[in-house]
């Protein structure tokens, strides 16, 4: 199984199809259309096929989703001036009355995706008006250090700490968040078993661990490759986390998100990324992982969550990232902290 080919051409075709038109099954995800676009753009870049999209058109579309304060607005009115996930949350305040409800609701996760896409296609981020973005982003940070994704009220958890940290990192400006408080929140999310839950007290979870560790790394609180350097971290129990992550490789070779759960394509990315940051990704059984991922590779292109299911954009993207981490020939290397190719992260 593990020697079967990675069907690069089919995957490129799959992404191109999604780029042009998404079937109606995706309508329930339309609030996060920018995220879907991110999967397509970053996926094509990983597959060395970014030339297949119209970068100018993509830049125009992404920029059209930026929230801007009107002249009369104070940036500290509590609203967040980031990027909308789609037109369905984008309403221009100058249309009608001045009721707060009729204005748009931009989103931290969409903002991360927007900036990531722009960075990937080589758009100069310094030409974005980031002042109102960063100033208003601070309003989303909670007293406990976590972030709310939208100013109108939502759940707060580690996912949005990650978005905030990645946004600040990409813009080269940390005025958008209080790093110390964010660090405290991440530490409070560390579980008794060495992993991290999405919120303090929650069960350790692959996605949460990715968000926690990459955030610490981006904010400068975690050294790279602690395992090889034989140093310890004062804030993360690295040996315990290492063991937890490695134990996530299940009997079928795939990675599970939590103990005693089935393997799922995407956890290959979330968990192996963390291992890469710690310096331990070579300790996994790469052959066995590749074997599992191949069973999730669809004959139509893309990857599914579980073997034999139909492919979806999310699991396809994380399937590609997993193959990049496995150093599959023909794929670009990945910058795990920012969720894009190394080249895009550096800015070439």
């Amino acid at each position: 199984m593990e020697s079967e080919p990675f069907e690069r051409e089919k995957h490129v075709t799959f992404l191109e199809m999604m780029y042009r038109l998404l079937p109606h099954q995706y309508q329930t995800q339309e609030i996060n259309r920018l995220t879907l676009a991110y999967f397509v753009v970053s996926g094509l870049d990983l597959l060395r096929a970014l030339h297949r999209i119209d970068k100018d058109a993509v830049a125009d579309w992404v920029l059209s989703l930026q929230a801007r304060p009107s002249d009369s607005d104070q940036v500290n009115n509590g609203q967040f001036y980031g990027f909308y996930g789609s037109r369905s949350s984008q309403f221009s305040p100058q249309d009608d009355n001045n009721g707060a409800s009729s204005s748009g609701i931009s989103n931290l996760a969409s903002t991360y995706c927007a900036l990531a896409i722009l960075k990937i296609i080589g758009y100069d981020l310094s030409s974005i008006d980031s002042e109102s973005l960063l100033k208003s982003m601070r309003n989303l940070q909670q007293p406990d250090g976590s972030f709310m994704p939208i100013h109108t009220g939502a759940e707060t958890d580690l996912r949005f700490v990650y978005c905030a940290a990645a946004i600040c990192h990409m813009l080269g400006n940390w005025s958008g968040m209080d790093k110390e408080r964010a660090k405290e929140y991440i530490i409070n999310c560390q579980s008794y078993d060495g992993g991290f839950g999405l919120t303090p007290g929650a069960e350790s979870h692959g996605g949460a661990i990715y968000c926690g560790i990459t955030s610490l790394r981006l904010m400068g609180f975690l050294e790279e490759d602690v395992l090889s350097k034989n140093v310890s971290s004062s804030i993360v129990n690295v040996p315990l986390l290492l063991v937890w992550c490695l134990q996530r490789q299940a009997a079928d070779g795939g990675f599970q998100g939590r103990p005693n759960k089935p393997s799922d394509t995407c956890y290959a990315f979330w968990i192996v990324s963390v291992l890469k940051i710690l310096g331990g990704h070579k300790l996994i059984d790469q052959k066995a992982l590749r074997g599992f991922l191949i069973t999730c590779q669809s004959q139509y292109g893309g990857f599914s969550k579980f073997p034999g299911d139909l492919p979806d954009l999310y699991h396809s993207y994380y399937g590609f990232t997993a193959f990049s981490l496995l150093e599959e020939p023909g794929l670009n290397p990945l910058c795990v902290e920012l969720g894009m190719t190394d080249l895009a992260a550096i800015g070439i």
Binding site: W61, F91, S101
Partner: protein, 333 residues
């Protein structure tokens, strides 16, 4: 769950909004995707039309009963759209609507897809407003979801919030026990035990003795269960000397090693104990030696090193790790 009777006709077919008299004055607002949209979606007609009418009422900031009903429909089609949920909350407040209906609505939507953050946030918003009168209902609701999927992350998250914000934790440890009786491998239930003992029942030191006893029983029953081993270790968080000095633990490890099946966690726990100063007796050396796969392998006098060799064979996916561990901890490996 729309209280408007005209959302479907006599045959239960969806009635287009443009055909409904109560919306006859509304001019739907189409989505403006711009000239070159990326990843455009092929919306189904009902979805598109519902969102067009929603946009109209939202822009007009109309906080009316028909707006409330429309958000119900929009939510059914598009439960991830937080703009719709947000507007619904504004309308509910403006109308001073009975929030108990919201509990029923969210329960209904959860039946379709319960893995939706907006749904759970709305539920929490309602519960916050209802206060402690909602405690029993929230615990029942999450218990219901967990009876279908005992590891449902959103349900556990909501349940933890309820216990902290509204109370009701007195029976929680017992509930965890019930879940573990049904499935001792349920890592979420183990995690909840830790949550309960640390936040409500006096903390680790106070609960340690009884919890260690409980956990060791679980370990002996299913030594291959990672969750119980991790929980056991977690009971000694920040207290390695108590961990090393509890003879019950090494004793259980020995028991499992001698049984010769499902030894992986017993071996790794033994390694952990040794790394914190535990001195293994000859019994341990013999037990580990008996697990050697091949007789041609040299018998190692160092129990820990010998354990690493065994683990390379019996835990093959982590063979690289055990080699690395051995090289790191034993200079002349």
């Amino acid at each position: 769950m729309s209280s408007s009777s005209s959302s479907s006709d006599e045959e239960g077919q969806w009635v287009p909004l443009r055909s409904r008299p109560e919306f006859s004055d509304v001019i739907p607002v189409e989505q403006d995707d711009g000239p070159n949209p990326v990843v455009p979606i092929t919306y189904k007609e009902e979805f598109r039309e519902t969102m067009d009418y929603f946009r109209a009422l939202y822009k007009a900031d109309e906080r009316s009963l028909r707006a409330l009903n429309l958000t119900s429909e929009a939510i059914q089609f598009n439960p991830g759209n937080y703009t719709v949920w947000h507007f619904r909350r504004l309308v509910l407040e403006a109308l001073n609507h009975d929030l108990h209906d919201e509990l029923a609505l969210t329960e209904h939507i959860a039946q379709g897809n319960s893995k939706n953050y907006q749904l759970w946030h709305h539920r929490r918003w309602v519960a916050e407003k209802l206060g402690t009168s909602a405690t029993t209902e929230e615990l029942r609701f999450t218990k219901n979801i967990l009876s279908i999927d005992a590891k449902h992350y959103h349900a556990w998250s909501h349940r933890q919030w309820v216990l902290q914000a509204l109370g009701g934790w007195e029976d929680e440890l017992d509930y965890c026990h019930q879940l573990l009786e049904e499935d001792i491998f349920n890592n979420s239930a183990w995690n909840q035990r830790y949550f309960v003992i640390t936040r409500f029942l006096g903390g680790l030191k106070a609960m340690r003795e009884s919890e260690v006893c409980y956990t060791l029983n679980a370990i002996v029953a299913r030594p291959e269960n990672e969750s119980s081993w991790r929980y056991l270790r977690g009971l000694y968080k920040d207290d390695n000397s108590s961990w090393v000095n509890n003879p019950q633990i090494s004793s259980v490890c020995l028991e499992i090693l001698n049984a010769k099946t499902n030894c992986v966690f017993a071996l790794s726990t033994l390694l952990d104990l040794i790394s914190h100063g535990f001195q293994p007796s000859q019994e341990f050396a013999d037990a580990v030696d008996a697990l050697r796969i091949s007789d041609s392998e040299q018998r190692d006098s160092d129990v820990a090193k010998a354990a690493c060799f065994v683990l390379e064979s019996v835990d093959p996916f982590r063979a690289n790790y055990w080699q690395w561990y051995k090289n790191k901890h034993f200079q002349n490996a």
